[in-house]
Amino acid sequence: MIRVDGLCKTFKAPKRFPGLRGAVKGLFSREYTYTTAVDDVSFRIAEGEVVGYIGANGAGKSTTIKMMTGILTPSAGRVTVAGVVPYENRMLNASRIGVVFGQRTQLWWDLPVSESLSLLRDIYEVKPAEYQERLAFLNGVLELDEFMMSPVRTLSLGQRMRADLAASLIHRPKVLYLDEPTIGLDAIVKERVRGAVKELNRSYGTTIVLTTHDLADIEELCRHIIVIDRGRKVYDGTLPELRAAYGRGRTIRAHIAGFASFDPAALDAALKALDPGASARKEADELVARFDASATGIAKVVQALMAACEIADYTVEETPIEDIVKRIYAEARRDVVAGDSVAGDPAAAAGRI
């Protein structure tokens, strides 16, 4: 559905100098600074996929999205969305995509939501019968009725986001770009927005590209993940693969009988025999065992625990995705410092992972 090949984007800005003298100098200067926001990024997104596009602030996420929506023209490389090059055939591409920017509404500030939607119906030339059917569907998923007649400026952030989602879907786009759709929302509204996105993907088969800083969004919605850092792609794969590669660490937290008098030293030694990196210690009122699941099985660790003490109950935790992403960034940056041969070729960097 989406093919991105060797995509680059360099921004050119007049060079600025500090101070008042600098400001005057800047007026006459012909010097420019060049910033590379996206550097040789390639990926494929299949039809019907929900893709998490992750990166720190300024990593180049929005720039990539803008090139995929036809707002920006790449400096080099090529994008095609459903066979169309967005920045060359803007109108055709625009009629097939939906865009939601979490920080900016595309609705008409002074108009009731219903008016904005019927305006979009006319813009995208949606047939009345289809419009009614979609509206009913969207209303079911996003519960629009409660604020359908309210002007957009009076909506709460959560209501506005639901209205924006509805607005981006009224023409049933093939591809939906969601740029931080859950930013600033409370837990309940986030949950509802995620539910709606899932439902849309399921019922309409819409391909969804999602950027977010809330990795819970990713965990719940996306199978395919692309991580970008400083304009370069550093990971491209599925969430389970990511976990397999990075998330091997497990933590077992147990409540045990006789906690106060229990000495974890023997258990610690027993675990280190299974996995040299493992540890067991007391934290607050819990016995905490950390180990690498690829070095030893969970069952063996639990057996060792049960031999050492009487467990009242326990939980097994995977590595939080935040930690995984932090590790990916850290490794990508270390590679950049360590050797340019790897950093110069994002595909190789991704391959190493």
């Binding site: 921004f11 050119k12 800005a13 926001a37 720039t63 803008k66 929506t69 036809g70 707002i71 920006l72 023209t73 920045y87 803007r90 109108m91 055709l92 625009a94 009629s95 995509i97 865009v99 920017f101 900016r104 595309q106 008409w108 002074d110 108009l111 008016e115 019927s118 305006l119 006319d122 813009i123 995208y124 030339e125």
Partner: protein, 281 residues
């Protein structure tokens, strides 16, 4: 035309939007009436004074006095016509565009299957339509009453030429405002610029004083500026104050400005999109 419906939605929409701000509209109407009203009393005093100087009585002198080709009823007709023209060349398309440029939301328009200038045009059309109904039509009716009672009702030819000239003024104003709004790319002080522009336009368009009252050299120069095409040209055509070659020249200048600003606004838009495409939103 294919796809016209999607743009007409904007017209309907902006019309509805204005209706939802009735108080603002009322203030605008009252505010717009102030200048013509003041000018009416001013001109009445001027004509009375001139009449008295010519030897007529101060009270009745106004009727027969002619200043720079204007009799008093014609001057009143001219004033009312500036109100009519003002309703058609009203609009804040420039501010709308400037705001979108400055907050960056103009980039979002590129993600929609719409031609931006056409979208702004139909949006603008809704506002103008409202103004024409609320202000322009009553002013037009009054023009007919004033000129008719003075025995100077415009001929069919003047009506047709006036309508043509008004239509050109309307399009010129749109293209001009569209170009002006895109100036927000290069200046951040759009407020100052639009205030300055409003004062200059008010004076040079002939809305304040008919250009016939300018010194000859100034009138000759100002006639060729786009501002004269906004109010003065349609008024002169409508009132039948200019004839033959002079009138044709005025209309030709108008048409030339419409085409020039149409081209300029198109070029400015292409410049902006290239800049967006190269430098980001």
């Amino acid at each position: 035309m294919a796809g016209l419906r999607r743009y007409l939605a904007f017209t309907r929409n902006s019309f509805a939007r204005i209706l939802s701000y009735r108080a603002t509209v009322l203030m605008y109407v009252l505010g717009g009436m102030t200048q013509p009203l003041i000018l009416f009393f001013l001109w009445r005093a001027v004509f009375a004074g001139a009449g008295a100087a010519e030897g007529g009585t101060a009270a009745g002198g106004a009727a027969g006095t002619v200043i720079n080709g204007f009799s008093f009823p014609q001057m009143v007709g001219y004033l009312l016509f500036t109100v009519l023209a003002g309703s058609l060349i009203y609009g804040n398309a420039d501010e709308v565009i400037a705001n979108e440029v400055m907050d960056g939301s103009i980039a979002m328009n590129l993600a929609r299957p719409l031609d931006y200038r056409r979208r702004i045009f139909f949006d603008h059309l809704g506002e103008v339509l409202y103004n024409f109904i609320a202000i322009g039509l009553p002013a037009l009716a009054l023009v007919f009453v004033v000129l008719g009672s003075a025995g100077r009702f415009p001929s069919a030819a003047n009506l047709a030429l006036g309508a043509l000239s008004l239509a050109m003024a309307f399009f010129l104003n749109f293209y001009y405002r569209f170009s002006l709004g895109l100036m927000a790319m290069v200046t951040t002080n759009m407020w100052g610029l639009t205030r300055l522009e409003a004062v200059v336009a008010n004076f040079l368009s002939g809305a304040l004083i008919p250009l016939a009252f300018f010194p000859v050299w100034a009138r000759e120069a100002v006639q060729f500026l786009p501002y004269a095409s906004l109010v003065y040209a349609p008024a002169m055509a409508f009132l039948g104050m200019l004839r033959g070659a002079e009138l044709l020249r005025l209309l030709a200048v108008q048409a030339a400005w419409v085409l020039a600003f149409r081209a300029l606004s198109g070029a400015a838009w292409r410049g902006l999109t290239r800049r967006l495409a190269i430098n980001g939103g």
